[in-house]
């Protein structure tokens, strides 16, 4: 009887914990949207803040966020996929594989503030790129490299060996096989990895604060947009942080709501695609 009583007590504890977690996390989202959605209107999203016009808007920050995300992906995705292909298809079982996998694991565990410090000193000072969108993107490239590599590796591992044997049996050279059979077969896994990486980039703040700096101006022409790569630019997260520091809490909540929308969109898309393509390791 005492055992039963103990069991029900523990069961209640379990249910309470689950309830607490769900309420807490759901509460965060609801609170942000309730507070933030009232701020969001067209002018908030489509114009940049300007003291002269007395206008508050985050268009400049949206552009910076996109800029950083695209630039980072352009650098990280090819390298990440290349690394996974080497680890899975070329390296066999050498000692280097274990070492590189350990490095990838380590890289994934380094906190963003340390990436920020490194990026600031190495890309910013040593390579003389200063506080710029490029410095930020290079730093984030290192940060999301493990994510891309590991997802691609998983995807390649899931491609049946019979595909490789069949291709080799027909006389396909290795790169030809990778290009025409393995990468297309692994594409769903790669795409979901990239979508998750977008979520990481958009939500990142500490590393960017030290490398890309701040700034909320909207580039007015294509040329300005091009030059922007060497200029500082604050992403949405940075602007949220700065707004909060200036006690502009409704702006901060507006940005928070926008951020959550973007991040949830990409993560949800990744999840749905994983389900549609039946990627068992992601579900």
């Amino acid at each position: 009887m005492a055992g039963k009583l103990k069991d029900s007590f523990v069961l209640i504890l379990i249910c309470l914990s689950a309830f607490l977690s769900v309420v807490l996390l759901a509460g965060i989202i609801i609170y942000v949207f309730v507070k933030g959605l009232s701020v969001i209107r067209w002018s908030f999203l489509a114009t940049a803040s300007s003291a002269a016009k007395g206008n508050v808007g985050i268009a400049g920050n949206i552009v910076n966020t996109l800029y950083v995300a695209v630039l980072t992906l352009v650098m990280a995705v090819p390298v990440g996929i290349g690394a996974a292909v080497w680890l899975n298809e070329y390296a066999g079982r050498s000692r280097w594989v274990r070492l590189i996998e350990f490095a990838t694991e380590t890289l994934a565990g380094i906190p963003s503030i340390v990436f920020g410090l490194f990026g600031m000193v190495f890309f910013g000072t040593t390579l003389r790129l200063g506080f710029s969108v490029l410095t930020g993107s290079l730093t984030l490239t290192l940060m999301i490299l493990p994510l891309i590599t590991r997802n691609t590796q998983e995807a390649l591992r899931a491609v049946p060996d019979s595909y490789r044997e069949a291709a080799a049996g027909m006389g396909a050279a290795r790169w030809y096989m990778i290009r025409t059979i393995l990468i297309p077969a692994a594409m769903p896994g790669i795409v979901t990895g990239v979508l998750l990486a977008v979520g990481r980039i958009v939500g990142e703040s500490a590393a960017l604060l030290l490398t890309a700096g701040s700034g909320y101006f909207l580039p007015e022409s294509g040329q300005e947009l091009l030059y922007k790569i060497m200029q500082p630019g604050g992403t949405l997260t940075i602007q949220l942080y700065l707004s909060m520091a200036k006690a502009q809490y409704d702006v901060a909540f507006g940005i928070a709501a926008v951020l959550l929308c973007i991040i949830f969109f990409f993560n949800l898309l990744a999840k749905l695609l994983a389900r549609k393509w039946d990627l068992s390791w992601k579900q």
Binding site: K6, V10, L11, I14, C15, L16, S17, A18, S21, V22, L25, A26, I28, I29, Y31, V32, V79, G82, A83, L87, E89, Y90, A91, W96, I100, A103, E105, T106, L107, G109, I110, P111, S112, I113, V114, F115, G116, L117, M120, V121, L142, L145, W175, G203, S205, A206, T237, Y241, M244, Y249, A252, F253, A256, L259, L260, I263, F264, N267, L268, K271
Partner: protein, 318 residues
């Protein structure tokens, strides 16, 4: 070898055609392999350079100020006339904050994982699970914003009640260690829940069935059989949680006050991470170098956690 294949081989040889791929194919193949190899070594190169840079930038200040004065002194006055760079309280705050957050967050997360893996009806679990994973993507600045707006006022009320009439207590307005601990605990929930839940679900059904067949109750089975069997995964989850809490900068920076103090619940504190975030902007000279030392210490802590994780994962394989 098959007779016909042998014949084919003989004929090919006789005809003088080479069985090796064309030269252009061989060049492309070699180039592709070279490119992939370079890509693979990028992450190794990154880890090595980050390690070297962190150490090379962190050591000089220790050299200049002295190990004792920097690591074992609690006096942090980086910009005064006679500056003092003791970071003992900063280190202690990071360690205490992380420890308390894990102490608070892990049990809740683990029990939630048990609920999802063992107790919840399938459809409920299937709805909650992706939601939890989605939540892992909430940016830290959002946690910080909510902590500042929701948690800090509550903390301030507690503080006013607890320290009513106190002459010695410095009121923080609710921005204190406890706020940071709560925010960190919430932040590690999704990670710890997801990973320990998948570990629990990977426990073989027969194992649990055998335990039930021997007369153990469902709850006994969970705690005596399933959780021990899933231990490597759960430990991994906890270690990742420790890493995340230790390395978190922005959220903590917004809710923890920011004066360097002994880490007591209602003290305004500064962590290793927040010292860098909030002071790097204006620090100069030796102060800046000390911040790199702070970064190096944080990095060493994280590497320690990573090594631990690696050791656990290795043992889990064997």
């Amino acid at each position: 070898m098959d007779v016909s294949l042998q014949q084919f081989y003989q004929e090919m040889k006789a005809s003088g055609q080479s069985l090796r791929p064309r030269i252009s194919v061989r060049i492309v193949e070699a180039a592709a392999q070279a490119v992939f190899t370079v890509c693979a070594f990028a992450s190794l190169l990154a880890v090595v350079s980050i390690t070297l840079y962190m150490i090379a930038n962190g050591i000089p200040a220790i050299w200049q100020i002295g190990v004792k004065e920097i690591l074992f002194s609690a006096l942090w006055k980086p910009v005064s006339e006679e500056p003092s760079f003791g970071i003992l309280y900063i280190i202690l705050s990071s360690v205490t904050g992380t420890f308390l957050a894990v102490l608070l967050g892990v049990p809740v997360a683990l029990l939630t994982a048990v609920f999802l893996a063992e107790i919840a009806p399938k459809r409920l679990a299937a709805a909650v699970r992706p939601a939890v994973e989605l939540l892992a993507g909430i940016p830290s600045v959002v946690y910080g914003l909510l902590g500042l707006m929701v948690l800090n006022p509550v903390m301030y009320r507690w503080e006013q009640r607890l320290f009513k009439g106190s002459q010695t207590h410095q009121f923080t307005g609710g921005a204190n260690l406890l706020s940071a601990v709560f925010v960190l605990a919430a932040m590690i929930l999704p990670t710890v829940i997801s990973i320990s839940e998948s570990a629990l679900r990977a426990v073989p059904e027969q194992l649990k069935a055998s335990s039930m067949a021997l007369g153990a109750s469902h709850i006994q089975t969970i705690f005596r059989v399933a959780i021990p069997a899933a231990r490597p995964g759960i430990v991994t989850a906890v270690v990742l949680g420790v890493g995340r809490a230790l390395g978190e900068a922005m959220a903590v920076n917004m809710v923890s006050g920011g004066s360097v103090n002994l880490p007591l619940p209602f003290h305004s504190v500064r962590f290793l991470t927040t010292a860098i975030v909030s002071e790097m902007g204006y620090a100069e000279g030796l102060h800046r170098q000390v911040l790199f030392t702070v970064g190096m210490i944080l990095f060493l802590f994280i590497m320690l956690v990573n090594m631990l994780l690696h050791a656990i994962l290795r043992r889990g394989d064997g």
